[in-house]
Structures are given as structure tokens and as C-alpha cells.
């Protein structure tokens, strides 16, 4: 087994754009669930809308970078309004049902063959990276050290991706220490109480839904910058991983989603390296590499179960805060 390579790959995940994208989506979900108590089971749909909202204008109309980003943002705001207007006045579980269904609906829509011209149907989209690559101020070439050696484009994706993660974290930090944050946390506890104190609960829930959704859609853009747009990536499985990351780090914490995403991807990379290595060297000869891939996610499920049992507040969460079942 090539331990150097396995560890190198795992460490590389720490700053990979995919990790950044998952962290950003988890920060958005933290705004929804961790702070406001909104049960959004469709974060994958926000990522999908970000991805297609950015790629389609770029490919179809040659939209400049800022315009394509704006399209993605507007699409996700509209999607949030579409989800929120009918459900946010109702009990919390309605949002959960509607988000899970809407996420599947949008995935089926982009996959339909009738829209192949626009969405590429099951094949997805590629050829949308030009405008982003053109915005890269870094010199050409490959640089860095050890496992962190990338070409200019890969560095640019990482810098932008993590820059946005930091920006989102600062935004959440500023909001959650403010009176605005006090209100959404109050809504998480008991929205009728907040209503009785003269706050427009519906409006605050909508603001939180839109903000977390926009973060999800920006995450969707970062996610596709190192790869192609593939509708198969946006299943409920993706939403589940974002939830895992958020709960792993701690739902209502600033660093939780970031550290959660890093741990998630490092562990996935390590288990993949070790399992594949073991299969190649004959230890686990009865397993195929496809099966090994599945086993990794079983381990993730197991880890999540252990986490919920032994550290329900997540890594950064406050035990005292969570020990009150409200």
C-alpha cells in the first residue's frame, strides 16, 4: 500500500474546491436548520440551481461571469420564494416535505430529454469554465508544495472557493450575534412566542431561507468549477451528506460546517485509499472496488450514528445548549 499517496490525497481534500462547496452548502443549511429551525431537505436542489443557473447562461448566451453568477443567485432566490411562500406559514414539517419533493422535481426537470438542448439531460453540461478561467489573475504554471501542488486554474478555484466560505462564515457570524440573529434563534425555539412580541416571523423565516439557499447555490457554482455539471450528483444523497457535515461540526456554529466538511472528505479519501489499497494487495480480495466505494458511505452512516449517540451537539456545538430538548 502506498501510504504516502493515500495520505497525500487525504490531506489534499482539506483545501479541495469540493470540500469548500460542501462547507458552503452546510453553512447555508446551518442558517436554515441550526439557527432558524427550518427543515430544509432540499439543499441539493439549491446547489443544482446554482450549477445550472451559472452554466446555462454561460453556454447558451455567452454571459459574462458576473451576469452568469447573478442568474444563479436570482434563480435560487426565486426557488426559495417558491418553496417558502406556501409553506412557511404552516407547521415546520410542511417545508420539509415540500423541499424534499421539489428537489427531486428539479432534478427530473433537468434530466428530461425534452430539455437536452438546454440542460444536456442525463449527460449534463460542460464548457462553461472559460469566463471563470479568464478571471484568473494567477500566473500560468504548476506550483505549491507536497500534496498541495496545483496548476494555476486549480489554485484559482481553491482561492475563490475558500474565500467565499470565509465570507459566508463572517456574514453568519455578524448576523447571529445581532438582534436579527436573536429573532431567528427565537423562531427556532418557538415562533408563536416571537410573534407575540411583535416580530414578523414569516418575513424572518423567508429571509433565512433565501440566505441559506443563496449560499447553497454559490456552493453549486464552486462545486462544478473543477468538473462538469452532472444531474446525477444532485440526488437526495447529496442533501444527506450536507446534513451529515452540518451535524458533524455542530448545527448552530460558525466553524462547524467548515471542519465538518474537511473531516467528511478527508475520511472518505482515507477510507477509499485504504480499502482500494487492501483490495489491490489481496487483503480484501473478495471485494470489488465498486463495493469498496459503497462501504465507505456505510462507514459515513455509521460515523453519523455514533456521533448522534455520543456527541449530538457536533464537534463545536455547546453540550449545554443541546441538552435541553425543547
Amino acid at each position: 500500500m502506498d501510504w504516502g499517496n493515500i495520505l497525500g490525497n487525504a490531506v489534499g481534500e482539506l483545501i479541495s474546491p469540493t470540500t469548500a462547496a460542501y462547507a458552503l452548502a452546510a453553512i447555508g443549511l446551518g442558517v436554515h436548520f441550526g439557527y432558524t429551525g427550518l427543515l430544509n431537505f432540499g439543499q441539493a436542489a439549491f446547489m443544482l440551481i446554482g450549477a445550472y443557473g451559472f452554466a446555462i447562461p454561460t453556454i447558451e448566451f455567452g454571459a459574462p461571469l458576473p451576469v452568469a453568477i447573478l442568474c444563479a443567485l436570482i434563480a435560487s432566490v426565486l426557488f426559495a420564494l417558491f418553496l417558502g411562500i406556501p409553506t412557511l406559514r404552516l407547521r415546520a414539517d410542511y417545508l420539509a416535505i415540500v423541499t424534499i419533493a421539489a428537489a427531486e422535481v428539479v432534478r427530473y426537470i433537468v434530466t428530461t430529454t425534452g430539455l437536452t438542448e438546454v440542460t444536456g439531460a442525463a449527460n449534463g453540461l460542460s464548457g462553461f469554465k472559460g469566463t471563470f478561467a479568464a478571471s484568473n489573475p494567477l500566473p500560468d504554471g504548476t506550483y505549491g508544495f507536497g500534496p498541495f501542488t496545483y496548476n494555476s486554474y486549480d489554485w484559482w478555484v481553491r482561492i475563490v472557493g475558500w474565500g467565499l466560505v470565509i465570507l459566508a462564515s463572517v456574514l453568519v457570524f455578524l448576523l447571529m450575534r445581532s438582534p436579527w440573529g436573536r429573532i431567528v434563534k427565537g423562531i427556532r425555539e418557538d415562533e408563536d412566542a416571537v410573534r407575540s412580541l411583535g416580530k414578523n416571523v414569516f418575513s424572518y423565516k423567508m429571509q433565512a431561507l433565501v440566505m441559506g439557499g443563496v449560499m447553497g447555490s454559490i456552493a453549486g457554482i464552486i462545486f462544478i468549477l473543477p468538473r462538469a455539471v452532472q444531474p446525477a450528483n444532485y440526488t437526495t444523497g447529496l442533501t444527506f451528506f450536507i446534513w451529515t457535515i452540518m451535524l458533524l461540526g455542530g448545527a448552530a456554529t460558525i466553524f462547524g460546517p467548515i471542519i465538518g466538511a474537511m473531516i467528511f472528505w478527508v475520511v472518505l479519501s482515507l477510507t477509499q485509499g485504504v480499502l482500494y489499497g487492501a483490495i489491490e494487495s489481496g487483503f480484501l480480495g473478495f471485494l470489488s472496488t465498486t463495493q469498496a466505494g459503497q462501504i465507505r458511505f456505510m462507514l459515513v452512516g455509521l460515523a453519523l450514528m455514533l456521533l448522534v449517540i455520543f456527541r449530538p451537539q457536533g464537534i463545536f456545538g455547546n453540550k449545554k445548549e443541546l441538552s435541553f430538548s425543547v
Binding site: 418557538d190 412566542a193 407575540s196 435541553f324
Partner: protein, 320 residues
């Protein structure tokens, strides 16, 4: 004549036909000289059950009004309807002359009519202080954009924190300031909810069973707070089962039974109203009161308390 009877307190119960708070004669749904809330034809049914069916109701301004009635009389439902937490089948009502029918709950609160809940709604995973600050008004930092820039809301935050600390001290919760509200006892949560509601200086505060679960030692000081509210010019409407308390602090008592207002009057006399005894005892009002538990004791208590108040008043008058 009838008022003489009431003052004497020994002869058959009678209701004075007039009262300084009332224009015209005293009775269920009577018009007040200066009402803060006026409701007309408010009804609410749950399936086949008519929970509230109030033809006309006025709540006097600047007074402490008790809303009493047996369990299931529709008091909480009436609170919910008036404050926009529930929608009536029919009816209109206004607060300070402004119609509030169909107005959402948060706007009712902003208009100056703030309520508390029978089942307390303290925000468990917020600290006691944060609970209090949520009750404040005019905090610019509650806007998502202003929230990002602390200097824009810092000074208001300091003001409302001072106010919150004063109220917490008054309600003996200052030691709990930094604790999560979930760690408070049931009685302390009631106090917190009331203190929180006062953060916005409401014109009318509506308390649904504020004393339930509050220990007797604190009840006394709570009574004091409620009286202070009145002297500060706040109108109070509260639901309470303890007749001693009702008689001691309220200026006016409204009695509901089976969704209707069945009697109204000053506390000294309303307890003697046959309709009230009827409401609490149902058809058994001619039975020996001692034979029944709960309801009858309530009425007995009320009578005793009413008498006490009278004696107290006479005593004072004698002195002066």
C-alpha cells in the same frame, strides 16, 4: 338601594345597576366609559363545539380586568382571537378605535396589545437576557442589513439591556440573567414571559393565568407588579382561577361560561351574581355548597375574599 345591599354584604347578593366605569347599567356586555377594546359578535367554533360566542364585550382602559370562568369557558380562545393567533368565524373588534379583525398577531403586538400564554413559551435555548431583549421594540439591528453593522444598533442594545435588567430585578430573575431559559422552573418561566412582554411597554397586557405555578411567596410580589402596571397607565386583562387574587387586584371582572359572557361587574358584587354561581356550579347551584369540591370552594372563596375587601375598605374609610 341595591348598592347599599352590596356595601352591606350581609343581605342577598345584588348587583349595583350603575358603576363609574360603565355607561348605563352594569351587565354582561355593558358599555364602558373609556374602553380600550371593543368586540362585537366574535364567535369561534371547533367542529361542532362553540368555544367562543361573545355578542359584545368592552374592556376598560387603564384598569385591571379579570377574565374568569370555569375550564373550557373559552377564555384562552378569546385571547387567541383578540390577539390574532386564531381566526374567528365571525366578529369584529377594535383596539384604541383601530379595527384589528384579520390583523396578523405580530401587528397586534406592535399596536400595543401584548399577550402571554397559558402554556409558557419561554425560548429555551436563549438566555434569560436574550429572551428579554427579544421583547424590545425599535431595535434597528432587527433588520438584516443594519444587523451587519454593529455601531448602528449598539446604543439601542445598551438601552434595552438596561431596561431588561431593571425588569429582571423586579421579577427576581436577575440572578438567572445568563442562564438558558430552559433551566428555569415553571413559575420562573411565567415570570420571564410576563417580564418579556413588558419590554415593549404595551398599552394593554393580556396575561393568561400568570400565577399558575408561581410560588405563593412570589405571587404577592407579582400582584404588586400588576398593580404597578396600572399606576404606570397600562391596562391589564388577565385570566385567573384564584378568586382571592381576582378580588384583591381587579377593578372589573368579566365572567365567561360556555363561550359567552355571562356576567360582569366589580369584584365585590360579581361573585354574588347568580349567573356566576350558575356558571361554576352548573345546575347544582341550589345544592349545599359544602358538598361539592373545586367549583363551590371557588365561589365560597370568592365570597369570603369579597367580604374581606369590603371590610378592608370600610376600615380605611373609618380611619380617614
Amino acid at each position: 338601594m341595591s348598592s347599599d345591599n352590596a356595601a352591606g354584604g350581609t343581605t342577598a347578593p345584588a348587583i349595583p345597576s350603575t358603576h363609574p366605569l360603565v355607561t348605563g347599567t352594569v351587565g354582561p356586555g355593558c358599555a364602558k366609559v373609556d374602553p380600550i377594546v371593543v368586540a362585537d359578535g366574535v364567535s369561534r367554533t371547533f367542529g361542532g363545539l362553540t368555544a367562543v360566542d361573545v355578542a359584545h364585550l368592552e374592556i376598560p382602559r387603564g384598569k385591571i380586568t379579570a377574565l374568569i370562568g370555569p375550564n373550557g369557558a373559552g377564555k384562552t380562545t378569546m385571547f387567541n382571537l383578540l390577539t390574532g393567533f386564531d381566526k374567528p368565524n365571525t366578529g369584529t373588534w377594535n383596539f384604541n378605535g383601530r379595527s384589528l379583525a384579520g390583523v396578523p398577531a405580530f401587528k397586534v403586538a406592535r399596536a400595543g396589545m401584548v399577550r402571554t400564554f397559558q402554556l409558557t413559551k419561554s425560548l429555551g435555548r436563549l438566555t434569560v437576557l436574550q429572551n428579554m431583549l427579544l421583547g424590545a421594540t425599535k431595535q434597528p439591528g432587527e433588520n438584516i442589513f443594519t444587523a451587519l453593522v454593529r455601531p448602528l444598533w449598539k446604543s439601542r442594545e445598551a438601552e434595552i439591556t438596561i431596561k431588561a435588567d431593571e425588569l429582571l430585578a423586579r421579577f427576581k430573575l436577575d440572578a438567572k440573567r445568563e442562564d438558558y431559559a430552559a433551566s428555569l422552573s415553571g413559575g420562573q418561566r411565567k415570570l420571564l414571559e410576563m417580564a418579556r412582554a413588558l419590554m415593549s411597554d404595551p398599552e394593554l397586557i393580556m396575561l393568561d393565568e400568570p400565577m399558575a405555578g408561581v410560588n405563593p411567596a412570589l405571587t404577592q410580589s407579582l400582584l404588586g407588579h400588576i398593580k404597578n402596571l396600572k399606576s404606570d397607565g397600562t391596562s391589564v386583562l388577565f385570566v385567573e382561577h384564584d378568586m382571592h387574587m381576582v378580588t384583591h387586584i381587579s377593578d372589573w371582572v368579566i365572567v365567561m361560561a360556555e363561550g359567552k359572557v355571562v356576567a360582569e361587574g366589580p369584584p365585590e358584587t360579581v361573585m354574588k351574581d347568580p349567573a356566576v354561581i350558575d356558571a361554576y356550579l352548573g345546575a347544582h347551584h341550589d345544592t349545599d355548597l359544602g358538598d361539592l369540591t373545586g367549583g363551590p370552594n371557588l365561589v365560597e372563596d370568592a365570597r369570603a375574599a369579597a367580604e374581606e375587601v369590603h371590610e378592608h375598605k370600610h376600615h380605611k374609610e373609618d380611619k380617614s
